[in-house]
Symmetry: D2
Subunit: 342 residues, 4 copies
């Protein structure tokens, strides 16, 4: 096997992050995320979003972040709206339902939601025989690699505000989204346009860790209770705090994401040059080229990646994911080998 494009969590952490972890390793600190390092990291994130009143909490993974954030926002009869491709619906083993809440799905080819799609779902009047939608869940970048534009996110936000809905954003790949060539959204703007979101560390160079950001003051109180109750409060909270401290101390978070994007872009360009199309427009560090099944089988001898969906006519979409650690020469080798096989 020459190289794996399976995902962006195949490697460990960026070396600087390991160094930061080691730096204050022996020092005694307060537990459960109230240590000095976590507090500094929280302050850096508040600064990065330009909102000192935002609450910031660190947890270890994306499913954990989603289940505890959503459950904290909902009364028992309330539900979440998500694209049918949404991670919470497809790949979290029923984690949201296990907290007691229905996910109401909307079909969406590009993995995104917009007010028009919400109207279609919400036009039927709701009564007590149905659930009451309360949170709109979006992923940025989406599960199929696409991005929201600023105008799109503003439109969603306006719709949510008008209809008493919270807007929650899953930012497992927000680094890649923010540094994408097509992006016109800043971290501060995303914070301003949502009620709660999380900044993904695991898929952007951290060992583990996501930073939950709560800008809506009504949703901040007693959030640590929810973290604890779901088993997400780490005794040595600094483990994640130190990583986000390193990621946001300079621009490491953005640099790592940019590298991943750059690698994905080279892949996408190379594939386009070879005449291949894509399931969704390549925008972030996940791209979905459509290749002949025969070629896919040959590539799988040497490269790791997922076959995403059949595309008809003996073709399938595959998923190629790059990371902060993807080597340029692996990208070149992949494209060259394809040329040789085609």
């Amino acid at each position: 096997m020459k190289y794996q494009f399976f995902n962006d969590y195949s490697e460990g952490a960026h070396p600087k992050i390991l160094e930061r972890l080691a730096a204050s390793n022996r020092k005694q600190m307060t537990g459960y995320g109230e240590d000095e390092i976590s507090l500094q990291a929280q302050a850096l994130i508040q600064e990065a979003i330009g909102n000192p009143a935002a609450a910031v909490h660190f947890v270890s993974g994306g499913t954990q972040a989603n289940l505890l954030c959503l459950a904290s926002m909902l009364r028992p009869h309330e539900s979440v709206i998500a694209a049918a491709s949404g991670h919470i619906h497809v790949h979290e083993a029923g984690a949201v339902e296990a907290t007691g809440h229905k996910i109401e799905t909307i079909a969406s080819e590009d993995g995104k939601l917009d007010p028009r799609k919400l109207v279609a779902l919400l036009s039927t009047p709701r009564d007590e025989h149905m659930t009451k939608p309360k949170v709109v869940f979006v992923s940025h970048a989406s599960e199929v690699g696409t991005l929201y534009s600023k105008a799109e996110l503003e439109a969603l936000r306006a719709y949510c505000l008008q209809h008493g809905l919270y807007l929650y954003l899953d930012g497992a790949r927000i680094g890649s989204a923010l540094t994408a060539r097509d992006s016109d959204l800043s971290l501060a703007e995303i914070a301003a346009l949502t009620d709660m979101f999380y900044i993904g560390g695991t898929k952007n160079g951290a060992l583990l860790g996501e930073a939950i950001v709560i800008t809506n003051p009504a949703l901040q109180p007693e959030f640590r209770w929810h973290i604890k109750q779901r088993g997400a409060l780490l005794a040595k909270g600094r483990v994640i705090g130190a990583q986000f401290l390193e990621l946001f101390a300079d621009e490491l978070f953005f640099e790592l994401a940019q590298h991943a994007n750059h690698m994905a872009e080279q892949l996408a360009n190379g594939l386009q040059e070879q005449g291949f199309g894509f399931l969704t427009p390549p925008q972030s560090n996940q791209i979905f080229p459509i290749l002949p099944d025969v070629l896919i089988e040959q590539l799988q001898q040497e490269y790791g990646f997922y076959v995403w969906a059949p595309a008809g006519d003996g073709m399938s979409a595959i998923r190629l994911v790059t990371s902060w650690a993807t080597e340029e020469q692996a990208v070149h080798a992949f494209l060259e080998d394809m040329r040789g096989l085609a």
Copy 2:
């Protein structure tokens, strides 16, 4: 502040663990705990308990381990029996109840359960108006630092088997328990005497991480579903795998615990020499001396520790916890300062 005896998670990880994490950092591996490192670590633990058929899973914390293990064992109407001092009852923010299950508590001064206490709870015949107890939860070492002897654990196990109950052991501090001077139980014996338990890493030198061990074959299938559903499946599973690999590669796990015990023993001996008694017999790395409130206040100027419970006559029990990282000179300084104050 000279030193903190607040708990055993005030420091980071043992340096060897950090080195192990760094060693294979850049290598691409399978995600979600199915990487080569995690597999090796699982094999070492199977070996340590002498049971190659046991299932071993790594999760990030104790509350998480407890809630997902217990929920995986129970049907909706079934409940857990625990000492009233049990961590799941007192300090997990209702995590078990949030999965839908009642905890039935038994008062216990020494933090332990025994068949006699279970008989008292279970002698009332149960019908559908009550819950049906199905799991007995014990902590070893207990929340008040006490230990089960082999005979005690065997008696509990025999009772459980007779009454169709599972026996689950919270091993957050199992390292300290196993290496305690009073201990006559091995890790293999604990594995053989329980249906499911976990080996605590966080409180014994790891950055984070607990190893869940399932010896009852009926409880093994589809356990990874439960892990995922509760948000406990780390994308970079090797983060915990590597730590347990280091802990169990040689005897590091036991050496670290032994050090903590040794420090606690020195504290206990010194306190005894000064004429103080204890809330519970000092056996592991948590000890509960009973001191005059005046002295406690003075000590708090220089040392960190929790005041546990009033003991009458102007005295209180405090909790002193030592760890793999506790420095001998801190112990001596504490005892000396006490002598000075008394």
Copy 3:
């Protein structure tokens, strides 16, 4: 308003049922459904399905029956498969999700499931990132009035047995289904082809009450615990027992359903004669004729019914429901008035 065809629970109970309730009213009996009357009613139902080993339990409503039956069958990570039109998905306010389980839906124009549809859902291999489907939920008659044939139910059952799935049948309108002209299924056959189902009383002449029937012995133990835990165990259980005793003492259950079907058939025939089509073939006591919107508005002046769905070209499907109490002259009046308006 001349008459309501809104639903089959607009009236109270058949007079014989009220008489039966009154008959033994004063007599002291055991509580919680273990009275002599409930026991007799259970025996009658066991007889009606030809299975003395079946467990029979009475609860007060359909949503209650569904949520408690399904939750009793599932481990935390398991899910239910249902048609997208399934009552549990659309009209039970998230009751199943509130017990912690996802419903996986399949689009179905006729409101029914079949092995081919299940294959499409289940062909993707499942791992721990997804839920594990365990129960197939069907409604008979379906929410759009359609019926399973014996061959169809046998095919579903065979598929479920092959794939380790339970088959659960919501029989809120099973009376109408069984006595429909197109029906080739008996109550005994339904019992034999499912693991658990319920016989709807509320929509077939009872004041309230559904009879849950569990034929799979593995699902019978401790079911009363589940009933109690969900708040569904009535202190005066005889209230429902007496009603089912009356319904199954002679053939009242079937006679009432037959009357409802007869009324629906007259409506359907009359509408067909007037040239109207239907959303789904009229088979049971719910029919869905497609009428011009103008006509619908006029009819609504005098008759109560729900407008179900737009059908294009200025037409909509409406829902007409008949019951044990529907008066033949109301049916005639409705058809005549239509003729006058057309």
Copy 4:
């Protein structure tokens, strides 16, 4: 068996209630509790409590009322405080925990709570490692037959208001409580002193049914969603509406309770005359005389009742319950037979 004093739900309904059910039986009405009869009954209850802004909802049983009311009031990390003898803790099969919430118990010999007991529980500062108590649950009459005085309920209420706690009252036997000789509380006062409570019908002459009353406006919105989600919304809501209409149209509710109390009082007086003491002071329709075990066994030949708890010295407390239907001659027979046996 001459007579049963097992409970107050051994008989059916008061004949007037059955008549009321039959009276409008055939009339077509709106479903799900929005029928004219239920609306009238709600208005009568609003009048009885002197609060036209109160929300009134009818459900079928007490466990159902408790689980849905409490779950509607709580966020995930919040808990309920109850006496250890509280019905929700002891006899509801973990129904409250199944909605995700812990019950925190307080030992109480008389089955009641007071501010002093709450202070003891709440004096430990709470952080995110514990649950956050939010509702105080009391039963009136309590599970051991005792009553709150007006001063006691006012003190509880004041404490709750000061500490941000809701006060919820389980009124399964509120009829007996209100009409007890010792009672100085009116229904209106109870309504004014609680946030939510329910008026028990099942144990006071109805076939089934409890009336939930919500006086706190913040807890009223979308309550019907909760009812539906827990399977508690009856299609033919009038079944319960009609019963409460009859109970509150004149004074039937109070008359029935008074009769039960009167019968209990005669029993208590007779037992006292024979020299027997009581576990708790006999105040309502449940009394707990302490009798010699030998006598108990003889009485059980002819009378049905529960043996409640051993009382030492070869004595036990038994529970005798009277109802609206208890016959005076049964009371006399019981006392006379006792005299004969003693």
